[in-house]
């Protein structure tokens, strides 16, 4: 939401950090209430699915990392 308000919501690929950007979350936020036909709605929900997939993969990696590290600790103390 914060990015939606300040990011600029441009549809171009960015070439520098000073260009307006559009994040996946801000695309859903800004266009969902304007989506008039079902393919549009479905596409936006698909964007949500991709976003969900990315966060799941990242948190799975984080959990695996924590598990690996804590396992190492246990081995040291045993």
């Amino acid at each position: 939401m914060a990015v939606t308000m300040v990011g600029g919501n441009s549809f171009d690929l960015i070439h520098s950090l000073f260009d307006p950007v559009h994040s996946m979350a801000s695309q859903i936020a800004s266009e969902f209430t304007e989506a008039t036909y079902s393919l549009y709605v479905s596409s936006l929900i698909y964007v949500g699915l991709v976003l969900f997939g990315i966060t799941i993969i990242i948190s799975l990696c984080a959990q695996y990392l924590i598990w690996r590290l804590s396992k190492g600790h246990v081995a040291v103390f045993e």
């Binding site: 939401m1 308000m5 979350a25 859903i28 936020a29 929900i45 976003l51 966060t55 799941i56």
Partner: protein, 288 residues
């Protein structure tokens, strides 16, 4: 006799002193930056928002753009209503799951649930909003406060689960064993010993979840939707403060921007007062 250090040793010592100073200065700098931005945000919101707050702002309804005055009373009441309903939904689920995870540690399902909760806390709130839209709004056929509560509940459940689980882990095993040794059944031990002992930490977790949800605008876009009029019916679209801030801040009118600042100020104060009051209440309890 004075110990003689070689030039190399002295240089090594000086190098280590310098590294230590540098690391220390770095940490102080990072802390200062964090605190600076916290006060920057607080100060900026107070500077821009406090001046627009009057009785009418807190008790009035939004007026059409162009007319001066008007307030956010409906959004304030709506936010409290939606979030309170979400707490009612999320608290039993989160607490129950936390009890299961803690009391049956050998169950594979319990560990999986805890793992899933940690993954769920990372899910973007907009995705939660989409989910609540597909789950509640589509079948019901209209935006509603209830769907907003369900979306907030999805955000709250993993937070309540994790904080409650951590609270239960801190209960001394001797208390539990003492209860079991008296022949008290397991369910009675949980209700009579584990829950009362950890009640302050449970309340802290609930307040954390409450504050987190109260400021969340993204799930409200497609669920509670917003409403310029009075509405206390959770089956109808309802105004919430974060949603109002989003609409007003991205809107084209100066008056709206001013109101968005003021609403941010009110929201911030509500969260601040809630957490301060909980702390004071808990401190009072712990002295009993």
């Amino acid at each position: 006799m004075v110990t003689q250090h070689s030039a190399a040793e002295r240089r090594h010592y000086q190098f280590r002193r310098a590294t230590e100073r540098l690391a220390g200065a770095g940490m102080v700098l990072c802390t200062a930056v964090t605190v600076f931005f916290l006060f920057m945000i607080l100060g900026y919101v107070i500077y821009n928002g406090a001046s627009a707050i009057d009785w009418n702002f807190l008790t009035g309804l939004p007026l059409p753009p162009g007319e001066s005055g008007g307030g956010i009373a409906n959004a304030l009441v709506g936010s409290v209503l939606v979030v309170a309903c979400a707490v009612l939904i999320a608290m039993p689920i989160g607490l129950g799951a936390a009890i299961f995870v803690n009391e049956f540690p050998s169950a594979r399902l319990g560990r999986t649930v805890r793992f899933m909760a940690e993954v769920l806390t990372g899910v973007p709130s907009i995705v939660v909003g989409l989910f609540a839209y597909a789950l509640v709004v589509r079948p019901m056929g209209s935006f509603s406060g209830l769907s907003g509560s369900i979306a907030y509940a999805f955000i709250m459940v993993p937070i309540i689960l994790i904080t409650s689980h951590e609270a239960f882990r801190l209960v001394p095993p001797s208390l539990r064993e003492a209860s079991l040794a008296l022949g008290v059944p397991k369910w009675r031990t949980i209700l009579g010993v584990v829950l009362p002992v950890s009640r302050t930490a449970l309340l802290t977790g609930a307040v954390l979840a409450f504050s987190r949800a109260l400021g969340e605008a993204a799930p409200m876009l497609f669920t509670a939707f917003g409403n310029p009029f009075w509405n206390l019916n959770l089956g109808k679209p309802i105004a919430t403060v974060p949603m109002l801030i989003y609409t007003y801040a991205t809107g084209p009118y100066d008056d709206w921007h001013q109101k968005a600042w003021a609403a941010s100020f009110v929201l911030m104060m509500v969260v601040l007062v809630t957490s301060v009051m909980t702390r004071a209440f808990l401190r009072g309890k712990s002295h009993e």
